[in-house]
């Protein structure tokens, strides 16, 4: 496959926020002393009066954002995924989720591709905690273009949205102007032997894997699921029914994420063998992002191995 431009989705987030700010006066941004890393600094530069630092106090920030939403504004609150979905889980659950307030949570540095900072900052549990909250939309864009589209869609959506972005620059494989709708998956490649359902940076890995599998005579369907919740049930069920085998791929624990969401759906509505690729109930560690992704099997090569074994 051709070499693609690489952009980290956290950069896409910052740029999309600044664009939203130009169009909508009701957009305000909160950050918790990580503006440079979460890229809300891009918004801050354009709209210093609408960017509010909360300091290193994430629980307070999320509840402050709830108050802003209760006043009719559309607050985007940002910090690392670990702190938004982990430390501040209960504030998100009780002050945002329960009253169903219109807060957008922009969580960056999701997954082990955080790299050198190590396990304390590599959040692989955010899908699990966020999708357990009633009414919460959970998004995990796969590249720059989808990330920008997701931020706009999150603004348009009435209700709480959790968005996970990455620190690592990843290939931009979508076309500008792509159609994006919350709750709708995207068939990146058709196929009949096995369906590979992926989210985040794993979607491009799944595409690469499908190319390699073609050489081995395996015709894989690849579906990009930016929306973890609400899951595109129709698309997933059709893929399961037509392919008969499903592989899920996520830069997240195999517990509580996309894999389990898919398994829950299929076990009730279309029992289908599933293999889950993700972080296998363990913590990450320090290292370069690329090496870590390979080590944890979050790469095309591992997807190929699993698919080959699955299709024997």
């Amino acid at each position: 496959m051709a070499e693609l431009k690489k952009i980290a989705t956290r950069d896409s987030y910052g740029n999309a926020l600044a664009e939203l700010g130009r169009e909508h006066e009701d957009v305000i941004v909160f950050d918790a002393d990580l503006s440079g890393a979460t890229k809300t600094s891009v918004f801050k530069k354009a709209f210093p009066d609408r960017h509010f630092n909360c300091g290193i106090a994430e629980g307070n920030m999320l509840a402050v954002a709830a108050g802003a939403a209760a006043m009719g504004l559309v607050p985007f609150a940002s910090t690392f995924a670990m702190f938004a979905a982990g430390r501040a889980f209960e504030q998100v659950r009780n002050s945002i989720g329960y009253p169903h307030l219109n807060v957008k949570i922009g969580a960056t540095h999701g997954g082990i591709s955080v790299g050198e900072d190590g396990a304390s900052h590599q959040c692989c549990e955010d899908f699990a905690t966020m999708r357990s909250i009633p009414g919460m939309v959970v998004l995990c864009p796969s590249d720059d273009i989808e990330a920008k589209a997701a931020v706009k869609a999150a603004y348009e959506h009435k209700g709480p949205v959790y968005m996970r972005f990455g620190r690592l620059a990843v290939p931009v494989f979508h076309e500008e102007g792509m159609a994006f709708e919350i709750g709708k998956g995207e068939v990146l490649r058709d196929g009949r032997d096995v369906a590979i359902l992926a989210t985040g940076l794993m979607s491009y890995e799944a595409l690469k894997a499908a190319e390699a599998l073609k050489e081995k005579g395996i015709d894989a369907r690849v579906i990009n699921l930016c929306t973890i919740k609400p899951l595109d049930e129709e698309l997933v069920l059709r893929a399961a029914a037509e392919c008969g085998k499903v592989i899920t791929c996520e830069e997240h624990s195999v517990i509580g994420g996309l894999g389990e969401a898919v398994c829950a759906l299929l076990s009730e509505k279309c029992p289908t063998p599933v293999r889950r690729i993700g972080v296998n109930d363990e913590f990450g560690h320090s290292g370069p992002a690329g090496a870590l992704l390979e080590q944890f099997g979050l790469c095309a090569a591992h997807i190929v191995e699993v698919a080959e074994d699955f299709c024997k």
């Binding site: 305000i28 300091g55 629980g59 307070n60 402050v64 108050g67 002050s95 009253p99 169903h100």
Partner: protein, 281 residues
């Protein structure tokens, strides 16, 4: 404050207390102690201080109140009902299946409730977010929030206070109900938050200490808070948990326990007597 105004508030506060006792008795659960300690404050806020319109609870420019100590919802519901947000008769549905009066405040179900609360330490942050937003929206309104003295053991409270001071939220008024008791006993025995006034002052608040059963002191404190510019205000009010019902006064055990039929009758007798006393003034 005229004698007549004071009398009116005194009568209303008695009725708020009756609402608390009636609602928790009907629910067979709930939190009368802290609802009663704050009953005078609820009365003052909703009948004197706040700019609100019961006919239009969603009015965008109204003052906001966040009950950060959300477990004292019976007190808030009683005052909202008396102020005309919903029928007083509805108080007996508290905590029942299908009721709009949830165990802790729900902004989407109960007219007049500005924020869903219940998990301690969060409401004050929400109130700070409202105050900041109101300023951004150029709305000339004030935001009030009531915290328990046990509640301020939550670290998030101090995060919120730092935030309010950092962002110069002078449209925010934080009230602490210092009734001295939490579930497990006296606050100084469980996890002392004292000295509360000094701590709030150290966080940059303009602090006033009042007797939480004195409407004139309330009037002065809120007037001062309204005039304070550049920093947020705090009012620490000394109160008595269970105030107005003799056997509940000063008893931690009445934090989260409902009166049974016999206790209910005694409490209502006492409150009716207090009401008659106010009416005779």
């Amino acid at each position: 404050m005229t004698a007549n105004e004071k009398k009116e508030l005194g009568i209303l506060a008695c009725k708020v207390r009756m609402g608390v006792v009636t609602a928790t008795h009907a629910a067979k659960s709930g939190h009368p102690g802290g609802s009663l300690s704050a009953a005078d404050l609820f009365t003052y806020l909703y009948f004197k201080e706040m700019n609100i319109d019961p006919a239009n609870p969603a009015w965008a420019d109204r003052d906001r109140f966040v009950l950060s100590k959300g477990h004292t919802a019976p007190g808030l519901y009683a005052v909202l009902a008396l102020r005309g947000f919903f029928p007083v008769e509805e108080l007996t549905t508290l905590r029942h299946i299908g009721s709009r009066l949830q165990g802790h405040p729900n902004m989407n179900e109960t007219p007049g409730v500005d924020m869903s609360t219940g998990s301690l330490g969060q409401g004050v942050s929400c109130a700070a977010g409202m105050a900041l937003s109101a300023r951004y929206q150029k709305k000339d309104l004030r935001v009030y929030t009531l915290l328990g003295d046990g509640e301020i053991e939550e670290g998030q409270v101090w995060e919120a206070l730092m935030f309010a001071h950092q962002h110069k939220l002078d449209n925010l008024c934080v009230i602490v109900d210092n009734n001295g008791l939490q579930i497990d006993g006296r606050i100084e025995d469980v996890m002392s938050p004292y000295p509360i006034v000094d701590k709030l002052a150290a966080f940059g608040f303009e602090v006033t200490e009042i007797d939480g059963s004195d409407f004139e002191q309330m009037e002065a404190a809120f007037a001062k808070a309204r005039q304070t510019k550049g920093v947020p205000s705090a009012i620490v009010m000394k109160t008595t948990k269970g105030k107005g019902v003799s056997f509940m006064e000063g008893k931690a055990g009445w934090h989260g326990k409902a009166p049974n039929d016999e206790e209910y009758a005694i409490a209502m007798n006492e409150l009716n007597a207090a009401l008659a006393e106010w009416e005779a003034k």
